[in-house]
Amino acid sequence: MAGLLLCSSCDTDSFVEDTWDREPMLEYWADEIIIPSWVSYSSQTDNMVLAVDAFSDDPTAINYDVFKASVLSAYSGWQWVSFLEIGPGEAESARYRTNTFPADTAKISNAATNYNGLNGPNFMLPSTYSEQGFPAIDFLLNSFSSSQTAAIYFANNDGPLLYLVALVGELNEISKTVLLEWNSYRTVFISNDGSSASSSLNKIANDYIFHYEKELRAGKIGIPAGVFSSNTYPRKVEAFYSDTWSSILFTEGLRAHSRFFNGVSFDSLLVGPSFAQYLDHLNVRRGDTTLSFVISDQFNITRQTSETITETYSTTIGQNVFKMLSLYDDLQVNTINMKTDMLQAFNVKVDYVDADGD
């Protein structure tokens, strides 16, 4: 009653407003973003398999270059699915098996030297995460001064060559399994449109922010730049053994996050329901503008800052760590935006626990 009296200022025609429907949003995410991203990544790993097979059949400098290009393209594609681990990806421990870095070079050398295709580590074991995936490929592939020397090395060392084949096959296998699982998981994902801690929206929002904070902000930038330690760790950057990959991979990851936030479809043709649209629907404003704009804008600012870093990340950390730190600071702003304002608006908790409240 009292509520009705207080509402004299409300719009009469919006007595009951159109509510935000989660199901179409989840459907859009599944069909236009998540599944196409996995399809694309999976086909990039197919290319990697073809290229590594060609290289192992005929270890020439040209085949080496082709293979290396296919790795970079798949590693970039990985950045688009890394935060979309929900469901099948999680079940496969996809992120741990694909991109745990820094790589454990001693273990990799040890495993690769006398590898014959059968006597390798069991890649399913968590203890082997640091000797597989892209970081291991990066170490084996990129520690050479030229394509020529690389080709000669692999022509004379069967172990490391076979180990590369196994690593690539493993990545291919993971992506195929996840993609196949999505056939059945899609329905589960879309129909789980509730608001509990285990609902799809809550999980995606948590995964997304967790990934942004732990992988993009801390893993790729903060940890190597020494934010969390009294020293810097230039060797802890992603793809340390390559020259320019670190910044390429970071840029891809940042774009993937930014586009998911704004609901841009994988093929770039659509803009659909998203965190941004949901925030706008809830009319979350910050001063003269909307929270969705503030966050979206911060993504752009972060990208611009990252573009000022022209040297490799490991070099930049050694010579001008402040550039990396200012990139970290820009990333940090959106961590706060999303973890406080956005999650409060969505009424999503960041504890991943279905615990009681009162």
Partner: protein, 453 residues
């Protein structure tokens, strides 16, 4: 006047039938047993008590800690004593074991503090001092208790406690955020549009106000509606409707059922005896119908303990008046005061650690030390922030050999739908702040006004 008071106290000793209290004892015990099972089945003993390497303690109670895998034993003890309380078997011992084990569980980590656990703690303490085993119990069946009657005060005490909880919960809603801005419900309800039928209304502002005002009105009036005989049945229907609704809307576990059982205390014994008579064959009363002797000094002493306990319940919620600053911001005096579902706070807090001697500085990775649940709770609760700072200082001093570290917080909090703002003053070294300092000394000022209680 003196006559009146002594008459009143005399009246409190008047013997009354024990059934209402016994029914409450049985249902309360059973609910507690279910609670313990639920905690185990959900894996919470593992994730909340055993897994974390660091635990947040209540002031002065840091000796109460989980004991590894044996934490399960404490829950086991609490479970068994819940059952024996329900059965009324060796009731005094059972209720003592129950409350000790329950308090130990609650004391292990304040991350999990919930008002309804506090409700259970106080109710458990009350049950220790009142003779709830005088009917429908094994103790009475085998003649271990002297009488089927209980003194009136031993029913009035838990009734009064239930009234205090509701009334204070209602009082605390009389503030501008709740009444004028419908917060935090205006933040919570729009996330619940998936609920069938009613969910459709949850993005509509007038519904937020309806729920806010309705909730406050319910809390303030339900004690009176339960007390008066003529409104009691209506009140009970309201109690069930209200708590079922909150159960649907919010993840509040066992709380709705506990409050429904609490409301059952208000029905007279006769209303239960009628349908409990069928079980009389099994749970036959022992037939001793002694009147309570005035010389029952133990029970008399218990009466005063109960009176003091209830008195504190009425005083404790007001202690916030003593502290400077906004209660919702500093949370000084927030716990133990029936401020239920009152506040939506989302925080983000990280710590910069500085060694002046070497000029080295870094940020602590909270996930190294805290579970996501602990990190979430620490991020907006000042006492937990300070406790964690002390832990970090000790950790880095002992593992990395630093001697004089300074720790600063980058902390942001969003309260009841307001845009997030800085929470802790980033220029203040938190290692030199103590729990005795007022929190406004190191928190940023709250530049908003929340009027009311």
């Amino acid at each position: 006047m003196r006559m009146g008071i002594s008459h009143f106290i005399q009246g409190l000793n008047k013997p009354i039938p024990a059934t209402s209290l016994a029914v409450f004892r049985i249902l309360f015990g059973l609910l507690m047993a279910v609670s313990m099972l639920r905690f185990t089945v959900n894996g919470w003993i593992e994730s909340i008590y055993i897994d974390p390497s660091f635990h947040f303690s209540y002031y002065g109670l840091d000796w109460i800690k989980p004991i590894g895998i044996y934490t399960y034993v404490i829950f086991g003890i609490c479970f068994i004593s819940s059952i024996t309380v329900a059965l009324g078997y060796r009731y005094k011992l059972s209720s003592l074991v129950f409350i000790l084990s329950f308090l130990y569980i609650e004391g292990m980590d304040k991350t999990t503090y919930l008002n309804h656990y506090y409700f259970i703690s106080v109710m458990g303490l009350l049950l220790l001092f009142i003779p709830a085993q005088r009917a429908y119990s094994i103790d009475s069946l085998i003649g271990r208790v002297p009488s089927n009657d209980i003194p009136l005060w031993s029913l009035r005490a838990p009734q009064l406690f239930v009234c205090i909880v509701y009334f204070y919960a209602g009082l605390s809603k009389l503030n501008s955020d709740w009444l004028l801005h419908a917060q935090p419900l205006a933040t919570w309800l729009p996330g619940k549009t998936d609920i069938p039928i009613i969910g459709h209304f949850f993005e509509t502002p007038w519904v937020h106000y309806l729920f806010s005002w309705g909730g406050a009105l319910y809390d303030l009036s339900i004690p009176f509606l339960l007390i008066f005989r003529r409104t009691r049945s209506f009140a009970f229907v309201l109690v069930i409707a209200f708590h079922v609704l909150t159960r649907i809307l919010f993840p509040i576990g066992m709380f709705p059922y506990i409050m429904i059982v609490g409301a059952m205390l208000f029905f007279p014994s006769s209303s239960y005896d009628r349908w409990l008579n069928q079980f009389k064959v099994i749970l036959k009363n022992n037939g001793n119908k002694f009147l309570l002797k005035p010389s029952n000094y133990r029970l008399n002493a218990a009466k005063y303990v109960v009176a003091v306990l209830l008195f504190f319940q009425m005083i404790l919620p007001w202690r916030y008046l003593y502290y400077p600053g906004e209660l919702f911001w500093t949370e000084e005096g927030f716990r133990f005061s029936w401020r239920v579902m009152l506040m939506e706070k989302q925080g983000y807090t990280i710590f910069r650690i500085l060694d002046r001697e070497t000029n080295k500085s870094w940020t602590a990775q909270n996930s190294m030390f805290l579970t996501p649940f602990q990190e979430k709770q620490m991020s907006f609760q000042p006492d937990m922030i300070l406790e964690y700072v002390r832990f970090l200082e000790e950790y880095y001093c002992s593992t990395e050999g630093f001697e004089n570290l300074e720790i600063y917080a980058d902390s942001f909090v969003s309260l009841n739908g307001r845009p997030r703002v800085r929470f802790v003053d980033p220029t203040i070294d938190l290692t030199i702040q103590t729990d005795k300092d007022y929190r406004i000394k190191w928190l940023m000022p709250f530049n908003n006004d929340i009027q009311g209680i």
